[in-house]
Each structure stands twice: as C-alpha cells, then as structure tokens.
C-alpha cells in the first residue's frame, strides 16, 4: 500500500480530519505553552535580572533552588503547599460528607421534597466558588484584623474568633460546600444506577440496615467516592478566589495565592516553578483517577435500569430530617445572596440599622457617591454596563468556541477510539484543566504579546480573552462531547452512512438532535465557568475590556464594598438565570436524573 493511498483512506473518514486538525491546533495552544513554561522556570526574567545580577534570558537553576532547597523555601513553597494540602483535604472531607449524605437521603430514603431539594442543592455549585467565601466574610468578619465587623457581630454583639472567620477552617468549609453538589452528582449517580438487587439480596437475609450500608452500599460507591475525592482535591488545590478572600486577611498563603504574588511580583521564575509543580500534582491525581475509573468498570454493576429498591422509612424523623436539610440548603444557597444584597445597600459598613440603608449605590448619581470617587450607582454606571456586556460577549464567544470544538473533539475521539491519535487528542483537550489558570494566562500573555506567524499581537485585545477562555474550558466541553457520543451507538450514524447521508447531514439531522441536551451542556458549562472566571482573566484584561469579575476585584481592591457586593449579586443572578433558562429550553441540567 502506498503512502498516498494510506493518507487518502485516512482522510476519507471525517473523524480523522478532525483529529488531525485538532492535534495541530491544540498542540500549539497547550503543548507550546507548557514548553514555554518549562523554559521559563530556568531562565532569568526582566524582573529578576537586577536581583540575580544576570542578563535577561540566561539559563539558571536558581528559581528551582530558591523554591525547593533554600532556607526561604519554607515560606515560599513548603508552607503554602502544606496549607493547600490541609485546606484541600478538609474541603474533600466536607464535600463528601455533605454530598454523600444528601445523595443517600435522596436515593435511599423517603425524605420529602426530593426534587425541589435536589435542584436547590446544585446552587452552590452553579454559583461562583467565591460566593460562599465572600458571604462568610460579610457575615463573620471581625474587627481584630482591622475594618468593620460583619453581620454576625452586628446581630449578636459577639466577635467571631480569627480561626473561625479566616484561614484554613472557613476556606476548607466553604470550598467543601461549593463542591458538595459535585459529590452528590457523582455518588448519587452511582447509587441510582446501582443494581438494587445487591442490597435487596442482603435484606432478604435479614441483614440489619446499618450493616447493608457499611458492607455493601459503601464498598460499591467507593470508586465513585475516590474519584470525587481526587477531582475535588485537585479543584480545591487550584482555587484562588476563596483563599484570597478568607486567607489573606490573616496572611494565610496557599499555592495559588503564592503563585499570584510571585508571578505578579519580582519572581516570575519562582512562580512558574510552583506552577510546574502544581501541574505535576494535577497530572498524578488525574492518573490515579483514571486508574480508579478503570477499576470501577469491573467493580460495580451499573445496569442502568434501577429496580425500585425499598426506601428506608425515616418514620418519625422524616419531617424533621426533611426540614433540617431544607433549611440547611436554603441557608447555603440563599444566605449569600441576602448578604450581598444587604451589604450593597448600607451606607456605612458594619451598621445594619434601617436608618443606614440606602439605594444610592444602585441608583445614585455620581454626585451622590462622592465617597466612592464619584462612581455612579451600579444601575446608572456605564462601566458596569460595559463590563456586563463584555462578560456576556466573552462568555458567549468562549462557550460557542469551546462548545463546538468540544463537540467535534468528542465526536472524533469516540469514533477513533483505540487509536493512538484519538488518545493523544483526548489528553491534549483535557490538559488545560491541569494548568493553574494564573500560570496559563501568564504564558498566553507572553506568547501572544508579539506577532506569531499569522497570529497578530493580541495583548489587550478581546481575542486573547476568548482564546484563553476557549482553551481553558475545552476540557468541560470535550468531556460532555465524549459522554454524549459514548451514549450514542455508532450504528445510529452508520445506518445513515449506508444510505449515503453525508457527514454534515448526519451531524445536524441525526447525532446532534438525538443528543441535544448533552451537547447543550457542553456549551452551558463553559458559559457559566466563563461568567464567573476570575483568575484566568485577571492578568489578561485591560481597562478597556474589563469583565464583571475583574470589575468586582477592582472595586474590592478599592474597598468599595457596596459596589463589589452588588456586582457579586448580579453575577450570581445572571449565572442562575442563564442555567434556569437553558434548563427550561433544552432540558439539559447538571443534576439531571438523580433528583427524586
């Protein structure tokens, strides 16, 4: 067989063309940045030249030495690493505890209001990760570290102690609560699909309920639990906003905040080294997860058709349990919003009396707001509208690009599965997930600040935001693309092939309509993530294309508390409304199929 013929028959298959194009593009957009980053860990940057007394661009191992083997390493790297590990482990425990319990209550007991509670439970996950952090801060901040006390003190007169208001405890708790819905989705999915016969068989033998849970249910969900654990762990490790709000007041540094400090300050080389270590951590966590998923295949019986297992009768506890869960979920979902609304309408921070309430930060003119540098009220504020418009534009653009590329990637990866090329593209498309956002954007900044081949200099443009967002969220989109394609037997498409229906028509008339809701979630996830993204854009935006989240940070840095809380409220509302809207239109939703 000639090479020519092989190429021809290779490229006759549409999925091979897609794979080939993706390899080229994604290598450039993910592998080149990775290489650049590796090189950056061993070269001298402008900011470091004077201190190191070496010319810019010299190869040096001093960054690595400083991060790993210096007396200062403890504060530069080891202490933040330890803090990251502590808060992430804590977050995992909380996410699994709450999420797992809730999953069990929903799938295995006769708790009331299941479907309502199930939808409510997803809230913290839809909201930006820092929502709960900021709410916590609003409520429990104390005057010990300076500034005005929060709502809790105003109501009770008690100052929350430092360990409770700031640092590892609230960071772990808040991050854990944010990811608890994720644990619920993963574990609930397994519990729901698990062959109930396994449990029923034990029930026939008069095994007590508690033994069934410890000896049968838990071992079966263990792989899902481990998998959730690892994913929550790695997400918590790379969270930036939460430790910024809750850690910095007491100088509690974790890896990401340390990354921001070094990268933005005088030691970018050290920052890149820390980023490399984070990537390595991420890769190994992912490898472990892959192994566990591989195990799970021949471990649990996921039959897909769940027979109706007899639900645990909570008896007298039924109403109290339902109410406690409802109150808890309402407070986790709604209290933050209330606190934002409240903070945005009080004149003098810390004073929650009715006389101190004003709407001037929403509808006041510039003249009313002289204390905030004559910034007009939010609803009259052109900067806000520009940022809002930018945010929506950016999120739409990223979601369109990431969603479409993700769909194509999912299609091509599944059709070409088993081949090296397909595995390679799969890994390429997932890799951005492992890159800490901050480091990722720093690399893009340096890569695209000058013209490269056909790509013009992009610094300060909207395009670089779209590019970074698209690549960063591609993993979500390609995951849902892959899932959607796996659920669709290839014969469905082949039936069309045999009838001579062309590729385009097969996609638009068969594949996409059938898996509509899965594909839409491939667009939904990037949109929501982009809407609330901060660390990825914080280095890339310029005042001209500022988005809501960076405006939030800008106001926060300025100390204009009412404005930042108001914007926060807006962001959360937009995200929730958007999810609700898409859910109504398409039936796609994150918690689909678990709720009662």
């Amino acid at each position: 067989m000639t090479v020519q013929y092989r190429l021809k028959s290779f490229f006759r298959k549409p999925h091979n063309i897609i794979l080939f194009v993706l390899v080229l593009i994604l290598s450039y957009l993910t592998l080149v940045p990775l290489l650049t980053m590796i090189i950056d860990t061993v070269t001298v940057h402008t900011a470091e030249a004077r201190r190191l007394k070496l010319p810019v661009g010299t190869v040096t191992l001093s960054h690595w030495a400083k991060v790993l083997f210096d007396p200062a390493s403890v504060s530069i790297f080891y202490k933040p690493l330890l803090n990251s590990l502590i808060t992430s482990l804590g977050a995992c425990a909380i996410a699994l505890g709450f999420g797992g319990t809730f999953a069990w209550l929903v799938t295995r007991t006769n708790m009331k209001y299941k479907s309502l509670l199930s939808s409510l439970c997803i809230f913290p996950y839809i909201m930006p990760s820092w929502t709960l952090a900021l709410a916590w801060y609003n409520i429990f901040k104390n005057s010990v570290v300076g500034g005005t006390p929060g709502i809790f003190t105003a109501l009770t007169g008690i100052q929350a102690p430092n360990w409770f208001a700031y640092g590892p405890f609230p960071i772990a708790l808040v991050t854990g609560l944010h990811y608890a819905p994720f644990a619920y989705i993963m574990i609930g999915g397994i519990l729901r699909n698990m062959d109930a016969n396994l449990e029923e068989a034990a029930m026939m033998l008069n095994t007590p309920r508690s033994r069934i849970i410890t000896k049968i249910t838990i071992p079966i969900v263990i792989p899902a639990v481990l998998s959730t654990f690892l994913l929550v762990f790695s997400s918590a490790m790379s969270s930036f906003a939460v430790p910024t709000f809750l850690g910095l007041p007491v100088r509690y540094q974790v890896l990401t905040t340390q990354l921001y400090r070094t990268m933005n300050g005088l030691n970018p080389g050290q920052g890149y080294s820390i980023a490399m270590i984070m990537i390595l951590l991420g890769v190994s966590i992912l490898a472990m997860n892959q192994k566990i998923i591989g195990l799970r295949k021949n471990y649990t019986t996921v039959t897909g058709k769940s027979s109706n297992i007899a639900l645990v009768n909570l008896k007298k506890a039924r109403t109290p349990v339902s109410i406690i869960v409802a109150v808890f979920l309402f407070s986790v979902s709604l209290l933050p919003l209330i606190s934002f609304a409240l903070e945005s309408i009080i004149l003098r921070p810390g004073d929650y009396s009715p006389s101190n309430i004003t709407l001037q930060f929403w509808i006041g003119s510039a003249a009313d707001n002289t204390m905030a540098n004559s910034e007009p009220g939010l609803l009259l504020n052109p900067t806000l509208y520009r940022s809002l418009w930018n945010s929506i534009k950016l999120s739409l653009a990223c979601s369109l690009c990431a969603g479409t590329v993700g769909f194509l990637a999912g299609y091509a990866i599944v059709r070409g599965r088993g081949k090296k090329l397909s595995d390679f593209v799969n890994n390429l498309a997932f890799f951005p997930y492992l890159m800490p956002s901050m480091a990722f954007s720093a690399i893009y900044l340096s890569m695209f600040s000058i013209q490269r081949g056909p790509i013009p200099a992009l610094y300060g443009t909207f395009a670089i935001l779209v590019l970074a967002g698209t690549v960063k969220y591609l993993p979500f989109a390609s995951r849902s693309g892959i899932n959607a394609m796996f659920q669709l037997s290839k014969e469905i498409e082949e039936a069309g092939v045999i009838m001579g229906i062309g590729w385009w028509k097969r996609m638009t008339r068969l594949v996409i309509p059938i898996q509509k809701s899965s594909f839409i979630s491939g667009y939904l996830l990037p949109f929501t993530s982009c809407m609330r993204e901060l660390s990825l854009f914080i280095l890339l935006v310029t005042p001209a294309n500022r988005v809501l989240t960076t405006l939030l940070f800008y106001y926060n840095e300025k100390g204009w508390n009412q404005y930042s809380n108001g914007i926060n409220l807006l962001i959360v509302l937009i995200v929730i409304l958007f999810n609700f809207f898409v859910n109504k239109v398409s039936g796609a939703s994150i918690d689909k199929g678990i709720g009662g």
Binding site: M1, T2, Y5, S9, R12, G418, S489, E491, I492, E494, A495, G496, V497, I498, M499, G500, I501, K505, R509, L510, P513, I514
Partner: protein, 370 residues
C-alpha cells in the same frame, strides 16, 4: 447479478487477527448465514462487506465490481455498494417517527414526495406496521421496532441485505415468527441475504448455505444438511446439532478397504465406510454419532444405564452411561425413563462420522458391535 466474492479477506485489530484469509463466494439470491461462537469474526466480516470496516488485506467484489482491494487501492463507500444493513440493536433514530425513519433515506436520495409516500406505504403494509406510522421507536415493542428497522433497510431497494443477529433481542415465539417472515421477504425481494447468527438452529432453518467461522478462520461453507451430515471437522460437528453429537475416541485397526475395527476400554465396534478408506489404516480416531443414531432396541447388545431423561413431549433427550462413557440419545414420542434403569441400544443408520487423529472429516458409515 449481485454476487459477493471475498478473496483472502483479512482483518487485524492491532496484532489481533479477527478474520483470517477468508475466501467465499455468495451467489445471487442466496440466503447465507455466517455462523460461529461469539467473537469469531462474524460481525467484522459483515461490516467489511458493507464497507463499514476496512479490511487489512484482500479483495471484495459485489456484482462483479471491485468494491475493495488492498492491492488495487480501491475502497468504495458503503452508500455506493447497493446494500442494506440491519443492525443487531436496530439503530432506529429515536427522534424520528416510524414514517420518518423509513422516509429519511429516500428524501436524501431526492425522491419526489409522491414516490416517497407510495414506497413508505408499501413497506408499512409489507411489514404490517401501518398503524404505528406516527409513533416514535420508544413507543414500540421489540418486535415492532425490528419490523421498522427492516422496513427502513428495505426502503431503498438494496439488492443485498446484510443482517447482524437481527432476532437476538426477541423472545422465542417472536423469533420463530420473524424467521418465517424473513424467508418470505427473501422470496419477495429476490435480494441476496447475508445473515449473522450464533444460533445454529437459526442458521440451519434459514440458510441456503452456512458459513461456519471459528477464531476468524473459515471452517466449512456448505448447505445446512451437508454441514450437519458431513461436518468438516470436530469443531463443526460439535457446534451444529442439539443435543450435541457423541464423540468416541478409539484405536483403529484396518480390516479391509471399507472396514475398520475400533476399540477402547468400553466398546469394540466394526465401522463400515460408505466410501474407500484410503487415508486411515489404523491408530487413534474419533467417531461422531448423532443422538438420533443412538436407538433403543430390545435386542440391542449394548447395555446402558439411564443417567438423565429430559422429556419434552415430542421427544425425549436421554443421557446414557456405558462404563465411563456418556452418550446423548433422542427418542421420539412421549416417553420417560426412570434414572438408573437399564436400556439396550444399538447404532443405526449410515451417518456415523469418522474423524482422523487431527479431527478432520474422513468419511461416513455405519457401526455394528464386534
């Protein structure tokens, strides 16, 4: 004339050989079954004929046209091969009604509205599914879905119909009904049918010719009765027929041109071949005796003990013990025998099969006790 010719067709998945140098000619109007245990390469073979899978080597001709050739570097796309493909899981499009499922392919061929309407109605009648035209596949039973899938496949009038275990998801009664239906369709459409199944009974009852595969290798390609009566080797003999054929290992000694003396610990027999015994003069051989050739007879000289008895009304399946040998036997009629009772048997008929040391077919013949 849609004749299908496979020449040295091989398919490898990595280093695993799924189909190994397959040679086969399927004549126009045949009803061929591809038979073999699960994983033997049936689906792969069918998909290669359809063009859904690219062979690693070899050549495939349909209707005299080369549709695939690794040497001549030809690979014609499935839609140009004039075939229909019936998938094991039906692969109906769940978001389209029955009507739309059938008409979609025709619309794609740019048929006129009237022509499409006429053709769809014809098929709805032919498969007796007119009343379901407006339903979605999820609202149909398995058997009805199957009919829709057949209608969709037949819509474009393919001259070759490839079917991958189309009845495996149906219950036993529906399966019987659909078999009859398929035979009728074969007559009506005058198309060439290639039918994959792992069910030997289905293969026997439907096919004009059976292609028996094992581990990607062709074992035998002949009519059902030849396969049953003259199995090419022990694998074929064992795979076809239920209850399975009895195999008895013996030492052979040549008596004359047509006769062998066969013996083991339990038995001592004379085998009279129906043709010359050129190859075999002695040494270890295997006898294959179909259960229906093991007959009960009052004056039979072979004493056996009933090991198990499975009456089904029309016939009774017996397991009979002689020493450490167990024999299957089928007795017709409504009979039952107590376990442990003694029965006398003899070997009847001319269809006892002799296999050589390697397990290859030598000849058929009759048996008598020595």
């Amino acid at each position: 004339m849609p004749e299908i010719v496979l020449k040295n067709v091989t398919k490898k998945f990595g280093s695993f050989v799924a189909v190994d140098h397959l040679n086969m000619t399927i004549s126009d109007g045949d009803f061929i079954t591809l038979l073999g245990p699960s994983g033997c390469g049936k689906t792969t073979t069918l998909r290669m004929i359809a063009g859904l899978e690219t062979p690693t080597e070899g050549e495939i001709l349909i209707d005299g046209t080369v549709v695939f050739s690794s040497d001549k570097q030809i690979d014609i796309s499935p839609s140009k091969r004039n075939i229909g493909f019936l998938f094991q899981n039906y692969a109906l499009w769940p978001h389209m009604t029955v009507w739309k499922n059938i008409s979609f392919g025709l619309e794609n061929l740019k048929w006129s509205k009237e022509q499409i309407k006429e053709r769809v109605e014809e098929l709805l009648d032919m498969l007796k599914i007119r009343e379901f035209a407006a339903r979605y596949p999820a609202e149909l039973s398995g058997g009805q879905q199957q009919r829709v899938a057949i209608a969709r496949t037949l819509a474009t009038n393919p001259q070759i119909l490839l079917m991958d275990e189309p009845l495996s998801n149906l219950d036993a009664k529906l399966r019987m009904e659909m078999r009859t239906e398929l035979k009728r369709l074969h007559k009506e459409t005058k198309a060439t049918f290639v039918y994959v199944t792992h069910d030997q009974l289905e293969a026997m009852t439907l096919a004009t010719k059976i292609c028996l595969l094992d581990k990607g290798l062709l074992q035998q390609y002949q009519s059902p009765l030849t396969i049953y009566g003259k199995p090419a080797n022990l694998f074929v003999a064992d795979f076809v027929g239920s209850p399975t054929m009895n195999f008895i290992r013996c030492e052979a000694k040549s008596v004359d041109k047509h006769t062998l003396k066969l013996s083991n610990q339990v038995l001592c027999l004379h085998f009279s071949a129906s043709s010359d015994l050129t190859g075999v003069t002695g040494g270890p051989v295997t006898l294959g005796i179909r259960p229906e050739s093991v007959t009960l007879s009052e004056d039979g000289k072979l004493k056996t003990v009933v090991y198990s008895s499975l009456p089904s009304g029309m016939e009774t399946i017996l397991r009979l013990q002689i020493g450490d040998l167990l024999l299957n036997s089928v007795v017709f009629g409504s009979l039952d025998f107590p376990v442990g009772s003694e029965l006398n048997i003899s070997f009847s008929g001319q269809s006892v099969v002799l296999f050589d040391q390697e397990g290859t077919f030598v000849t058929t013949g009759s048996l008598a006790l020595a």
